[in-house]
Amino acid sequence: MAAKEFDIPKLPTYIEIPEINEGVMKGDGPFKSVEEFQTPLGFPGEKVDNWQEVAIAKMGELKSKYRSVQVFLDACVKCGACTDKCHYFLGSSDPKNMPVARQDLFRSVYRRHFTFAGKYFPKLVGAKELDDDMLDDWYNYFHQCSQCRRCSVFCPYGIDTAEISMAAREVLDAVGVGQKYCNQILGKAITIGNNLGLPEPALRDTLLDLEEEIEEETGVAVKYPLDVKGAEILLITPSADFFAEPHIDGLIGYGKVFHQDGVNWTMSSYASEGANFGMFIGSYDVMRKAALRIRKAALDLEVSRVMVGECGHAWRVAYSFWNTLTGVGAGATDEFGLKLQNQLDSRYPQPQHIIEYTHDLIQRGKLEFDKSANDDRTVTFHDSCNVARATNMGGIPNGQFILPREVIKAVCNNYVDMERSTIMESTFCCGGGGGLLTDDLMEIRIKGAMPRMQALKEIEKTDGVDTLVAICAICKSQFSKVLPKFDFDPYMIVSAHQLVSEAIVMDKPQTEDSEAQDTAEEVTEQ
């Protein structure tokens, strides 16, 4: 498939709601999965013969298992409140990227098969048959949704397109029309333990290299322990943190914070992935399967706290779903859940976010910073959609907005927020979330990034912002790719913990040499 030519959207001074352009984003969708990636997840290897039957049965099953799906399909009144809320619509002007129209691809089939009006008066209520064209539209347009839930914030009934999008992807998987990117990655995550397919020796090497690098640079032996039994904290972080730029600088930051706290921490080679693409494909089973690896790692390593690194949807899965899926939290009654409850430190909410941890240390005065180390930057914070709209931090109302900002402000002097309607619960997605972070979806990724880029451009003009902070691996990768398309420096995107890392004052090891040197200095001063 040759890359399609497309225009990169121009950045207007304020977001205008585009006139609709039917079919501009019509297409074949992302690369389709093949048998090799489908089978391990329990999905058919190719499109099944009786796919319509299977799909309708699956829809019936899903609407009886998910209240969200059932209620959202019925409750929409087509008021249009969501029509201008999706970054993919604003960036592409394809009307099927309006949340309600995206849902209607699914809803029209629901009406045809499951409602009185749709069965007997299909034309009247816009009910449609699930034919080849419709399935193609499902595949294409449900892979132009990053499940960011911005539409849900503005819907008078809270209808969440992410839920419909997840259901649609689950139906697609059930008929054997899966997405290659997500399903291939999931295969690696549930067999090897991370999305990159990085085995234990490679991971260990990487971490050793990182330790050497930091020691060379700072003179402090910051450790990156792997599989240390009996450690206090198990850190689960997106595997991008091990390799990708700028992610790795965030990992350096976590290590320095742990080092300064003097805590005994570890990562796990068995569960070396915070991301859980099971959420993107809507599969409860696959999502649980991936989450169970973390429970097992926590039990095997006998840790007393589980902590999550900077990753948006990982934090959603961890904060909102882990307890449901595997009992990492409180109240699970199965054997392993109970074992974990007894083992985890009840003084801390489980799981915890690395931002909560660092924030707590800052509050308690445990960390010292030289804020001037970040004086060359003017910083703004991008609220990642899953963190912003689906989780909390610190157990206080809106903590997920407050804590990251407080951490950033504690380590740098120049901080500005972007326009209020583009941050916090109204944040615009980076354009690459929800299983869309693949090169075969580059057009929609760039177009979908437009609203975020617009808000960024404005404060670049007014406040000279030159650094964009995110606490999500997908946001960081996506921004690295799309920033240059909008005339920004691709390196302006950094981890929150990269700023922490740059400003943190490390205790030098008290070797004889350095003591001697200190004394010498004191003498000369006198």
């Binding site: 914030v153 809270g158 097992k296 779903f321």
Partner: protein, 260 residues
């Protein structure tokens, strides 16, 4: 009783039956369908009280819609508050016997009919003239507004123009419908405005459970709005997931590999 009165009396009971059974079935369906995961949308309430407050703001003030679009909010809210006040005032017609004095207080609610009609007209205008909303509208979306508009306008015509209907006769008919074992059924007035009005109200009742009017019970069952954000404090698990955890562990192992 006249044939037309018998027809409308029968239609009332049929519509009411369809409405009650239909709504009970849908509400039961929403009730028994589990929400397996915690999915409240920010800004999320951390307590049950917070959820009640959020839902109250949503239902009374249309908070989310206000955040979203001021025009749609204005017209939508005008229509709903108008409808509510008008409905309250209609209780007088169903009240058997003399009205208590309290009804004097709700007498001015008749002016709410204008709010209702203005709201509906605004919503219709948006549906026709805003390209995005026109794109997502099905014929039923227009028909629903037309239905409500005719109900509202026919009511306004009867109340505020010389086309009054015999209100005492309406009262006898309406109170007879609900209190027939004691006071029996009566004839209804047959002016075209009144018959149109009441016929469409019965139609509205009947289509309530099979149309988008399901947003009325739906909003209370919406997991993004009615859930407490407390997933770290207690485990939230649906019956099917729990059963699957216990019974299907083996199947999961076969398809996805062994856990432990």
């Amino acid at each position: 009783m006249s044939a037309i009165s018998i027809f409308f009396t029968a239609l009332f009971y049929i519509s009411l039956f369809v409405f009650l059974i239909g709504m009970a079935r849908k509400i039961y369906q929403y009730w028994i369908t589990p929400a397996p995961l915690k999915i409240p949308t920010a800004p999320t309430p951390l307590t049950q009280t917070g959820v009640v407050m959020r839902m109250a703001r949503e239902v009374v003030l249309f908070e989310s819609l206000f955040k979203s679009n001021k025009w749609t909010w204005l017209f939508g809210w005008l229509f709903h508050i108008g409808l509510l006040l008008v409905l309250v005032r209609h209780v007088r017609y169903f009240w058997p016997g003399d009205l208590p004095e309290i009804f004097l207080l709700i007498q001015p609610f008749k002016y709410a009919a204008f709010a209702m009609v203005i709201g509906l007209t605004g919503l219709m205008g948006r549906r026709i003239f805003v390209e995005r909303i026109r794109y997502i509208s099905a014929p039923s979306d227009y028909l629903m507004l037309i239905l409500l508009l005719i109900i509202g306008v026919s009511g306004v015509v009867m109340t505020f123009t010389s086309n009054h209907t015999d209100v005492m006769m309406v009262k006898e008919f309406a109170s007879g419908l609900i209190a027939f074992p004691w006071i029996g059924w009566s004839n209804l007035p047959t002016e075209v405005h009144f018959l149109t009005h009441i016929f469409l109200v019965f139609v509205l009742m009947a289509i309530f459970p099979i149309s988008k009017l399901l947003h009325v019970p739906g909003v209370f069952f919406s997991p993004t709005r009615n859930q407490v954000d407390d997933s770290r404090k207690k485990r939230h698990i649906s019956p099917w997931a729990l059963k699957q955890e216990q019974e299907h562990a083996v199947r999961l192992e076969q398809t996805l590999g062994k856990d432990e």
